[in-house]
């Protein structure tokens, strides 16, 4: 394989890696988006599932609606469009959350449920000057949600096991190995360690993908 042929193949590997929002370019692990609910509220798998439902209900509809509305707005006001759209979508999302979970369960999330409205995982797109097409917004909204949910469920399950020794409330190990995992400071530390391992694994996979397209 010639060098000229090799370069486009390397670029396609990079492109594939960028598009993989679940593992290779996870929004939490690679970009640090959506950290506030993850670090404070995602202390148990149950909380993680509730937050995942909220993200699923909020992220894609906001991104699609905001992509539509921002066609008519000046670039500097696009943040406003995205934030107001998220606030409007939250009304419906909160109503559905009320049907799915009890008030006591939702109280476990505290202010981190309404806070999703201003979270970069939902709003970040407004910072890019290019307008987004509705279909692209739908596709990227769905894959970003999947990536965020994957990281959220993994970290919340890990924090429950480490901090309480349980999973879904049922004991899985003798006791709490690292009780601090339930605190915000422990949340920062566990998230940092998960990021470290995840990034190393993703770098390994990218390297393997590059080797496969390398000229002999």
């Amino acid at each position: 394989m010639s060098e000229l042929q090799h370069e486009p193949l390397q670029a396609s590997v990079e492109k594939r890696a960028r598009r993989d929002r679940v593992f290779l370019n996870n929004p939490v692990i690679m970009q640090g988006l959506g950290l506030a609910p993850l670090i404070v509220a995602a202390t148990t798998l149950k909380n993680g599932i509730m937050l995942s439902t909220a993200v699923l209900l909020l992220l894609t509809p906001t991104r699609v609606l905001a992509a539509l509305l921002s066609r008519f707005s000046y670039f500097r006001f696009r943040g406003l469009i995205y934030a107001l759209t998220a606030g409007a979508v939250y009304v419906g999302a909160r109503y559905l959350m009320g049907l799915l979970y009890t008030p006591a369960e939702l109280a476990l999330l505290g202010l981190y449920l309404p806070l999703l409205v201003a979270d970069p995982i939902v709003l970040k797109r407004y910072e890019r000057p290019q307008r987004e097409r509705t279909r692209t917004a739908l596709r990227k909204g769905l894959i970003t949600s999947c990536g965020y949910i994957a990281a959220l469920l993994f970290i919340s399950a890990l924090r429950e096991i480490l901090g309480l020794g349980t999973l879904f409330g049922s004991p899985v190990i003798g006791g709490a190995l690292f009780p601090m995992a339930q605190l915000p400071s422990g949340g920062f530390m566990v998230t940092a360690l998960v990021m470290c391992v995840w990034r190393a694994a993703a770098a390994g996979v990218k390297k393997q993908m590059s080797l496969e397209v390398e000229p002999l």
């Binding site: 670090i39 934030a83 998220a86 606030g87 939250y90 409205v117 201003a118 009780p179 601090m180 530390m189």
Partner: protein, 203 residues
């Protein structure tokens, strides 16, 4: 006179609490995604960002206080609260924009205006507004808490930015460099604040 002194005392007490004991970043992780980006980005000046954030925070907190008093009894408040609070910060956004454009003219204000959306639509602003309304603070408490949250956030940005040189040193293993080591550092600071406020770990 006693009323004024009491209000001033309440303002400063809530401001100090919000800066240290209930720091937005270290105790509630509010605005941490933005902070991590800011600490790595040399283009956005901490001082400009901090001044804009504090201005938006205080103006929106004042509006949020009155709107909360007006709509608190509504059955739909639980659904509408984030939208209304975003509207308050949007109104604050336009007030600050107007002041910046008047003070610096259109050309001079360009760089500041570019930072303004980031300083307005973030979890630190919305989180502080939500906290003040959920906990039914009085007007002076709301203002003190808003100012303290803004100052506390700027302090956290300065702390993390100041440590970047050491955090990116060669002595740090490559896989930890960047976001993981910054989060570990914030976690250690959060633990220090947790201890400073008199808490004990359960082991």
């Amino acid at each position: 006179m006693t009323e004024v002194l009491r209000a001033l005392g309440s303002f400063f007490a809530y401001a100090v609490i919000a800066v240290f004991a209930q720091n937005a970043v270290f105790t509630r992780s509010l605005g941490v995604s933005r902070l991590v980006k800011l600490s790595e980005d040399d283009e956005v000046g901490s001082l400009v960002f901090g001044a804009l954030l504090c201005a938006v925070q205080i103006i929106s907190a004042m509006m949020g206080f009155f709107v909360n008093r007006w709509l608190f009894a509504s059955a739909f408040w639980i659904y509408l609260r984030p939208l209304v609070m975003v509207l308050c910060s949007a109104a604050a956004f336009f007030v600050v924009l107007l002041v910046v454009v008047i003070c610096f003219r259109v050309h001079g204000a360009r760089e500041i205006v570019a930072v303004l959306p980031m300083a307005t639509f973030n979890t630190c602003i919305l989180g502080t507004l939500l906290l003040s309304t959920i906990q039914n603070f009085t007007f002076t408490q709301t203002l003190g808490f808003a100012l303290g949250s803004g100052v506390g956030y700027v302090m956290a940005v300065a702390l993390v930015r100041g440590a970047q040189e050491r955090l990116q040193s060669e002595a740090v293993p490559a896989t930890f460099r960047g976001l993981p080591i910054t989060l570990l550092y914030i976690g250690i600071l959060a633990l220090a604040i947790y201890g400073f406020t008199g808490h004990m770990l359960a082991f």
